[in-house]
């Protein structure tokens, strides 16, 4: 089966196999993206991939393969890291997010992000959700804000559990509830894309299942890119799966294809548990 060593396979790494790009208008698209930390250490090599509207793209791969780095490029979170340089073209709805006319602060309200560890602000549950709308002036009065908070919490499946304790600190919730609060907070600013960086890795299996169901429901209104270390999770929730290896995008295909009939040998090695 495995005739070639990993080193040989790596040397052969050429273009991404499968279908990294899609036909029609993608929500987001990356072309020839390179990312460098500290000038000489390159984290991502020539990655091109599209995100279709209302799909979930799962990004998998061994630790340090650059999937989180790419995710953070999509809403320019890497700007906050000194010495991080992003080259290539990333577009949101056909507009280059690095162009001068784009305000990175506004971009981040269009491309929201949920992090690995739930990070509610040390404020009340209500204020956590109201934080974004208040910043961007999305509501005209308190009643509208109340509605928006309720709507967001409802979408995140957290309304029933928290409606009686909206003034309690968000940090007092359980881990899974905190993560759903963070998702509600992100949705409250009405983004088009939600990026999720291993959103369930700090949660127990039951909370994970709740979040996965939530992601599945959110698909109808948002485009979601999710980085995950759990291949089962990728298989359960995503439409397409992208496999990264050492900063290169090896393969992108329909999730079914990736897990049943991967095109690239590196992908096959990874999903069959031979390394990573």
């Amino acid at each position: 089966m495995n005739d070639k060593s990993e080193v040989e396979l790596l040397q052969e790494l050429g273009d991404t196999v499968g279908k990294p790009t899609i036909e029609g208008n993608p929500r987001m698209s990356c072309r020839n993206v390179d990312v460098f930390y500290n000038k000489d250490s390159q984290a991502i090599f020539d990655v091109s991939v599209d995100l279709a509207k209302n799909e979930i793209l799962a990004m998998i791969g061994p630790s340090g393969c650059g999937k989180s780095t790419l995710l953070r490029c999509l809403n320019r979170m890497n700007d906050t890291i000194d010495d991080c340089v992003v080259k290539g073209e990333i577009k949101l709805d056909g507009e280059d997010i690095h162009s001068k006319s784009i305000d990175p602060v506004l971009l981040r309200s269009n491309v929201g992000m949920v992090f690995q560890k739930p990070n509610p602000f040390p404020k009340s549950i209500y204020d956590n959700v109201a934080y974004g709308p208040k910043l961007h002036g999305l509501t005209r009065n308190n009643a509208e804000l109340d509605d928006l908070v309720e709507e967001s919490l409802t979408k995140a499946g957290l309304w029933k559990e928290t409606k009686d304790r909206l003034n309690k600190p968000g940090t007092g919730l359980s881990g899974g509830q905190q993560q759903r609060l963070c998702i509600a907070r992100t949705m409250a600013v009405k983004p088009e894309v939600i990026l999720m960086d291993e959103p369930t890795s700090a949660l127990d299996p039951i909370a994970t299942a709740t979040i996965e169901e939530l992601m599945y429901e959110l698909k109808s209104s948002y485009t979601i890119a999710v980085v995950t270390h759990s291949m089962q999770q990728a298989a359960r929730i995503s439409d397409r799966t992208a496999y990264f290896h050492l900063g290169r995008l090896v393969e992108v295909n329909q999730t079914n294809t990736v897990f049943t009939n991967p095109e690239h040998e590196l992908t096959e090695n990874y999903i069959t548990g031979r390394f990573g």
Binding site: F121, P122, L135, V189
Partner: protein, 474 residues
């Protein structure tokens, strides 16, 4: 032979014991291959050495501590004349006896006064005492050595026993620190009680007039003294508030800049400079306050008054202005505590997890929105704790206020006027030639007690607040 020799002997024999016991353990290891040692050979050495040294040194310390007093008492017991003296005369006589004994003058047989005789006896007793001390210390050391050296076997849990002894040693050190504090507090409390026997506590706490001068002679002009501490505590609080109004915003905003905005280069320059600023002795700040800021504040006050006179504004026209002012002291004290607040705030702001920053940034917040709406609220308990610690520092500060705020106990809300503080008054009460049992000097202890309680409460609150903050993130 002196105390130092005895001490050295104990230490040297301890070292020897260490090597003996270690060698003994090593021998087991070498010869009997069947036997396994419970601990490394060194631990057998430590165990024997500790048992040799600690009891001996304890006896040595206790004996040295009690020796002078006990011997003196024995000497006094031999002389009816000395027993007849009252307390203060006796302590004078004992001082003279110690002096005579120390100078060796006691050996001249011509001097036949009671004190000289006592000194001879004292020297004799001290010699006996030393002999007794030496023999008992060495005996205890030998006993300790015997107790362990011959009893250690390969199965002895030397490692665990050394661990136990280490814990006791650490406990002993901690106890010394605590006992010292307790001792100081008790002496202050006892003297304060003396004071409150003479001046009612309500006069002290609620009186608004402070004038500690008491006529020493009957015919002397001067008051009978008034000990209302309110103006002093008000002066302290007033200056601290001014200082905090300067240092609070300045320190916090600089801390935000340093922690959130400054790049590494700027930080690496500013941080050491701040440490230098924190190391400037307060008396140097005092010069600065008295020579530069004081006159500036006075000129400014005069300017305000002139405006008041010209425009006929009564409050401003009647402004009392002096070179020594609450404002000058407060301003300089504010400068003094800026590094303190800055470095504490910098620590708590840096301790806010990056996840908070990322979370806020990802919501589309700008950097300053993130700082003011997420980072500062998250760090607030720590910042408040830092402020409270800075206030207790300001309240205890002496030199700056002594040089810049004056000694006049005015109860005033005018920052241009001279005020005085608790610390300043303690200094003026206790410096110079004083009798240490007059009401005036006792008042210093009462003030000290008040100050101590105030700062203690502030520190307790501050530590509580800081701890609460830590629980949130660790």
């Amino acid at each position: 032979m002196s105390d130092l020799d005895l001490f050295s002997i104990v230490i040297v024999s301890t070292l020897i014991v260490f090597f003996l016991a270690q060698q003994k353990a090593k021998k087991w290891q070498m010869t009997d291959s069947g036997i396994t040692l419970h601990s490394l050979p060194g631990y057998y050495g430590y165990l024997s050495a500790l048992w040799t040294a600690i009891p001996a040194l304890l006896i040595f310390a206790a004996w040295s501590f009690l020796e002078v007093n006990a011997t003196s008492m024995l000497v006094v017991g031999q002389f009816a004349e000395l027993q007849a003296l009252d307390k203060s005369s006796l302590s004078l006589a004992l001082n003279e006896i110690h002096l005579l004994a120390g100078s060796g003058g006691a050996s001249s047989a011509a001097d036949a006064s009671i004190n000289a005789q006592a000194a001879v006896l004292y020297l004799q007793y001290m010699d006996d005492s030393f002999l007794l001390k030496t023999s008992s210390v060495l005996a205890i050391a030998a006993l300790g050595f015997a107790f362990t050296y011959w009893r250690i076997t390969p199965a002895t849990r030397a490692r665990n026993s050394v661990e136990q002894l280490t814990i006791y040693a650490l406990l002993a050190c901690a106890t010394i620190a605590i006992l010292t504090t307790v001792g100081i507090v008790f002496s202050v409390i006892l003297e304060s009680i003396e004071f409150f026997k003479q001046i009612p506590i309500t006069d002290f706490l609620f009186g608004t007039h402070w004038s500690p001068q008491i006529a020493i002679r009957e015919d002397q002009a001067g008051s009978s003294g008034a000990f209302g501490a309110v103006p002093l505590f008000w002066g302290t609080i007033f200056i601290s508030i001014i200082a905090l109004m300067i240092a609070g915003p300045l320190g916090l905003i600089s801390a935000i800049y340093l922690a959130e905005y400054a790049d590494k280069k700027v930080r690496s320059v500013i941080k050491p400079i701040l440490e230098v600023l924190a190391g400037i002795p307060t008396v140097v700040y005092g010069f600065f306050a008295a020579i530069t800021i004081g006159p500036l504040v006075r000129d400014f006050g005069n300017y305000l008054r002139d405006i008041g006179v010209n425009l006929d504004i009564e409050i401003m026209a009647n402004l009392t202005v002096s070179t020594e002012s609450a404002l000058a002291a407060g301003l300089v004290m504010g400068m003094m505590i800026v590094p303190f607040i800055l470095s504490l705030s910098d620590d708590v702001i840096s301790a806010v997890p990056d996840a908070m920053r990322d979370g806020s940034t990802a919501m589309g917040a700008t950097k300053s929105e993130t700082v003011w709406k997420v980072i500062v609220p998250a760090a607030l308990p720590g910042i408040v704790g830092g402020f409270l610690l800075a206030i207790s520092r300001a309240i205890g500060e002496t030199m700056i206020v002594l040089m810049a705020a004056g000694v006049a106990a005015n109860l005033t809300a005018n920052p241009m006027d001279a005020v005085t503080t608790v610390t300043t008054q303690i200094v003026t009460l206790l410096t110079g030639d004083q009798e240490f049992d007059s009401v005036k000097t006792l008042a210093a202890f009462a003030l000290g007690l008040g100050l101590f309680i105030t700062t203690l409460l502030l520190n307790i609150i501050a530590l509580h607040v800081v701890r609460k903050y830590r629980e949130q993130y660790e």
